[in-house]
Amino acid sequence: MDAKKILQFLQSNIWIIILVGGMILYPFVSYHPYWLSLLITIFIFAAFALSYDLLLGFTGLISFGHALFFGLGAYSIAIFSRFTELSFGSMFILLAVAATVIALIKTAFAMRVRGIYFAMITLALAQFFWVLVMTLSRYTGGEDGMPRVPRPDFLGDRLTYYFFALGFLLLVYFISRRFINSPTGRVLIGIRENEERMVMLGYNVFKYKLFSLTLAGIIGSFSGAIYVMFINIAFPALLNIQSTIDVLMMTIVGGVGTLHGPIFGAALVRLLSHFLSSHFRQWIIIFGIIYILIVVFMPLGIFGGIPGLSKWLEKRGGWLKWIAQKLKP
């Protein structure tokens, strides 16, 4: 790769490089355990929201049960580490296999029912696992959850885990970007726009939906696993409807169908809920109102609204036009 190409890569990813650089430098500038923890959860939820956007934004599958994967990751690590002597590496491999199996089941449903019916069946599937976790309390701790989930030794302290979570998010981001821009990703967007046409063109829709659901499932379950290793407890709320609503909101607020949107949305939702919950007891209501306003006035989310904003700024001319050009992807 010659210097010109490297320069071009740096130039086109300038915002990401600045942001990641800032995140890498942050713990050395101000080491505050509380903020570090908040940032770690933001990184993990950003990866989770990104996996949800692969389904909702890029394949057009409305899933109301994505928390199933998150909970699967969380409970797999908790159960494996309590009842078996497996290494963390083999736990993650088994987890990937389990996520693939569930993705296969969901794809089978997705081929039979569409739209809102698919949303309902995924919701039902997630609630089923929630009931399972609540009922099999001998293995899952029931309502109390499973405390004392261990972490690998080399990720013991908070600072290392911070870089681990950041690295995980970056990996997920680049894999998703590569995936979306690959021919397979293009086919998925085609399915989102018009499934019948893709069938007519001879694409095997089952295969492509399976790709998308498997990738989203593996990323989602890995985020759940990394989250549970950080907070050290697995509990049923991780896989119920509220957890799905959270990730749905992050994706919608940030911008569905964009790669930066879910990351930005996860950060915004976590920060907002952090600040609001320390001031109001019923903070969810303020949150709900903000969410409704975004759905009504910016249906494409904050990032999805940028092309429209830059068009509007361009019309104004002058120095606003300069900003508009900077905003263009």
Binding site: F109, I116, Y117, L125, T135, I285
Partner: protein
């Protein structure tokens, strides 16, 4: 087999099924006609319970509490349709996300007004006690719920089949464009149907209060169960919502007794089976699952 316990569970299941029916029938009609999954339906059920309780405690009249719940649902339903649903018509995903957000706001609003704890809704004197049929004890209040549900069922059935407006609604479920091309103002029909559906849920909440007590979580619990009942019965089919609700109510009652905690799993498995074998639901028409 047919002992006292059986009849108790049967009555319990029917009473629960009737309450689910009051939510599910409106949900099903609204979805069938307008293609909107109204997530606020469970929240209106909850609000109906709170409003009914407040009216009952203030006036000491259970009849007024029921009428208040009905009126509250009708007015609020109509307002929500005009303000929040109509402007976004045709954009299904946006509407889905919007009603989801309204559900969150309503479920928190109730905690601000009435507090987050469980409230007791006393039964009126004339509905306390039980009817003895040999060895079988049949509590009056559960019989009242079943009877009330049956009356609503018959009224709504007659309305949908014998009145001009009801027939228009059913025609709209089949083909809204066709109805409009006959010169009927379909938007007004939409508003009315939405208000009617919401008022059924809200009156259901009002009569559920003395049976289930009143607390914020009834919104979320019931919307999930009602959605399952609608999908099982067949979206847009009135008969389907009756069958689905009673089936789910009985499964919850019997399953909950013999295998507690697994009742929800039964519902989910039933829904998954129905969707796999007959995606349009037990009583739904064919061809509705594509592209919606």
């Amino acid at each position: 087999m047919f002992d006292t316990l059986f009849f108790n569970l049967l009555l319990n299941g029917l009473a629960h099924g009737m309450l689910i029916f009051l939510i599910a029938s409106g949900l099903s009609l609204i979805f069938g006609l307008m293609r909107v999954v109204n997530f606020t339906h469970g929240s209106f059920f909850m609000f109906g319970a709170y409003v009914g309780r407040s009216i009952y405690l203030a006036t000491d009249s259970f009849v007024l509490a029921i009428l208040g719940g009905l009126l509250f649902g009708f007015v609020c339903g109509g307002l929500v349709e005009r303000i929040a649903i109509r402007p976004f018509f045709g954009n299904r995903v946006q509407l889905l996300l919007l009603t989801l957000g309204m559900m969150l706001v309503m479920n928190e609003l109730v905690k601000i007004i009435w507090g987050p704890t469980i409230l007791r809704f006393p039964r009126p004197d004339y509905l306390i006690g039980s009817f003895m049929l040999g060895d079988i004890i049949l509590p009056y209040y559960r019989m009242f719920i079943v009877g009330f549900g049956l009356v609503v069922l018959v009224i709504v059935y007659l309305f949908l089949n014998k009145t001009r407006l009801g027939i228009t609604i059913r025609a709209g479920v089949e083909n809204p464009e066709m109805v409009q091309s006959f010169g009927i103002n379909i938007k007004q029909v939409f508003t009315f149907t939405f208000a009617l559906g919401v008022s059924l849920a809200s009156v259901g909440g009002a009569i559920s209060g003395p049976f289930l007590s009143v607390y914020p979580e009834i919104a979320m619990d019931n919307i999930l169960v009602a959605i399952i009942a609608v999908v099982v019965g067949g979206i847009g089919s009135f008969g389907g919502s009756v069958a689905g609700s009673l089936l789910i109510g009985l499964i919850n009652s019997f399953g909950g007794f013999y295998l507690p905690q697994a009742a929800m799993a039964f519902n989910v498995v039933l829904m998954a089976l129905v969707l796999l074998v007959r995606p349009q639901g037990l009583f739904g028409r064919g061809g509705v699952t594509g592209g919606r």
